[in-house]
Amino acid sequence: MAEVEKTRGLEAKGVFFRYEVDESEKVLALAGVDLEIRQGEFVVVLGPNGSGKSTLAKHLNALLLPDEGDVWVFGMNTKDPGLTWEIRRSAGMVFQNPDNQLVATVVEEDVAFGPENLGIEPGDIRTLVAEALKSVGMEAFSRHSPHHLSGGQKQRVAIAGVLAMKPKCIILDEPTAMLDPSGREEVMKTIKRLNQELGITVIHITHFMDEALYADRVIVMDKGELVMSGTPKEVFSQWKEISQIGLEVPPVGQLSRRLWSSGANIDSGTLTVDELVDELCRLRSQT
């Protein structure tokens, strides 16, 4: 049994959740979600506004509990009150606004906040903080004030704050929404590296369709339900469904599809600039 538990990732079975707006009105936010995320997987969550992404994310670290159904985090049922802290430690969250996640006046104090709350020895905290800052490439800034960092750097510090608790999973709810293009790339590369090098499970919510290309698997939410799941290529090849839901194929994908449908002999599912350049040069040299 213990053996099996260890390999379990994150699971949701038949999860319903309603927000109570007032006595008479409830909002159905999750309408029967079944989901399994393997340990070490990089999952990107897409979906229109109000489709339940943030609500789902909050279920995966026991900030919200299902009205019906169950959520297990690495084998721990979120409904067990005795496990809440262990669940939050093993599945940490990062949010959208880089400015109100950092509270301390020095970067390393901010990162130490989580482990301090867990009652870890000061000596060990120092090691955890140093390791965490190194993992996000921010070790040179440990004594800086967070206010003077760029948006992308602030988000990397927020990620380090989660890492310092030695989580198995990081859940990021639109961490790139407020960042400039470089900051966005910095954050995406950082979480990809944490996933590949440390084996940390990543659940990343975004409205930037191109960020889906970093994922092993893309899942799409609509009206509280999980409606699509597959590799980025699989999901974006269903372009009709994608646009019906209110999402879109990334620009390069749109261009590939248009060229293909007007007769150019290229892979219609090409999604990145470099791949499309290669496809087109191959085509052009066939004369």
Binding site: N49, S150, P251, L255, A264, L280, R284
Partner: protein, 288 residues
């Protein structure tokens, strides 16, 4: 109502040890009916700059002139300035005060002394422009998803029908359809005469919509010109932590591989046309 900024500098917490000069020596003029994009890294001073344009921040030095009048000179009503120049804040929570979504959007029009029926019609119109479902109107603004809250913030400013609309990263957190539809609706308002200033990190949106683009870098205005010109300077943009749209980069890479295509393409449609042209020239079979 043209807006003119002359040698504008703003220093936060002036005279303390933590003083920060967020923008310095900025001058430009925006004429009626322009659609201007303002881009720059996080912390480059975009939000600071635009909050001067309707008198929410007072210049440390320099001038802001609206219709040729210094808005900080005696006798100018800032309230009047703010009804003509509407600003949608970067963070929706900076803008939410009321008990319900309806009251929140109605706040502006009520403040302007509109009758109840006028208020109602303005709220309705604004909701349609931002794609906000009517059943959300009775909810508390704190019981919304991120993207819904963003729509409420935009609707609240549209409801006062400003002559100049300034949007600070309005599409952050919006889903793709919402982003496109809201911006298209704003473009339509612009065609009917509204001046628009769009602050955004979404280079595709700026490239698609803005005729003129201004670039801020560490508090200084470092570029100001036609979108096509600014976005064809990839290395310059990258040095400012910015990036041209993906299709612009694609065209640059094709040129490096010997393609005779333009380097100032901004949209998927333009890229498509250029590529098809080149394939035809080369006589590639099947390229329509």
């Amino acid at each position: 109502m043209p807006i003119e900024v002359a040698n504008l500098t703003h220093t936060y917490m002036k005279g303390t040890t933590s003083e920060v000069t967020a923008i310095s020596g900025i001058s430009f003029r925006i004429d009626d009916g322009e659609f201007v994009g303002l881009i720059g890294a996080t912390g480059s001073g975009k939000s600071t700059l635009i909050q001067h344009l309707n008198g929410l921040l007072k210049p440390t030095s320099g001038k802001v002139m609206v219709d040729g009048v210094d808005i900080w000179s005696k006798g100018v009503s800032l309230k009047e300035v703010r009804r003509k120049i509407g600003l949608v804040f970067q963070y929706p929570e900076q803008q939410v005060f009321e008990e319900t979504v309806y009251d929140d959007i109605a706040f502006g029009p009520r403040n302007l002394g509109y009758s109840q029926t006028e208020v109602e019609s303005q709220v309705k119109k604004a909701c349609a422009l931002v794609g906000l479902a009517p059943d959300l109107l009775s909810r508390s603004p704190f019981e919304l998803s991120g993207g819904q809250a963003r729509r409420v913030a935009i609707a609240g400013i549209l409801a006062i029908q400003p002559k100049v609309l300034i949007l600070d990263e309005p599409t952050a957190g919006l889903d793709p359809r919402g982003r496109t539809e809201i911006l298209d609706n704003i473009k339509a308002l612009h065609r009917n005469g509204m001046t628009v200033i769009l602050v955004s990190h979404n280079m595709d949106d700026v490239a698609r919509l803005c005729e003129r683009v201004m670039v801020l870098d560490r508090g200084k205005l470092v570029a100001d010109g036609p979108a096509r010109e600014v976005f064809s300077r990839r290395e310059f943009l990258e040095s400012m932590r910015l990036k041209p749209p993906e299709v612009t980069i694609l065209m640059e890479k094709l040129r490096k591989r010997g393609w005779a295509v333009r380097n100032d393409v901004l949209t998927v449609e333009e890229a498509y046309a250029e590529i098809v042209e080149e394939l035809r020239r080369k006589g590639v079979a099947g390229a329509v």
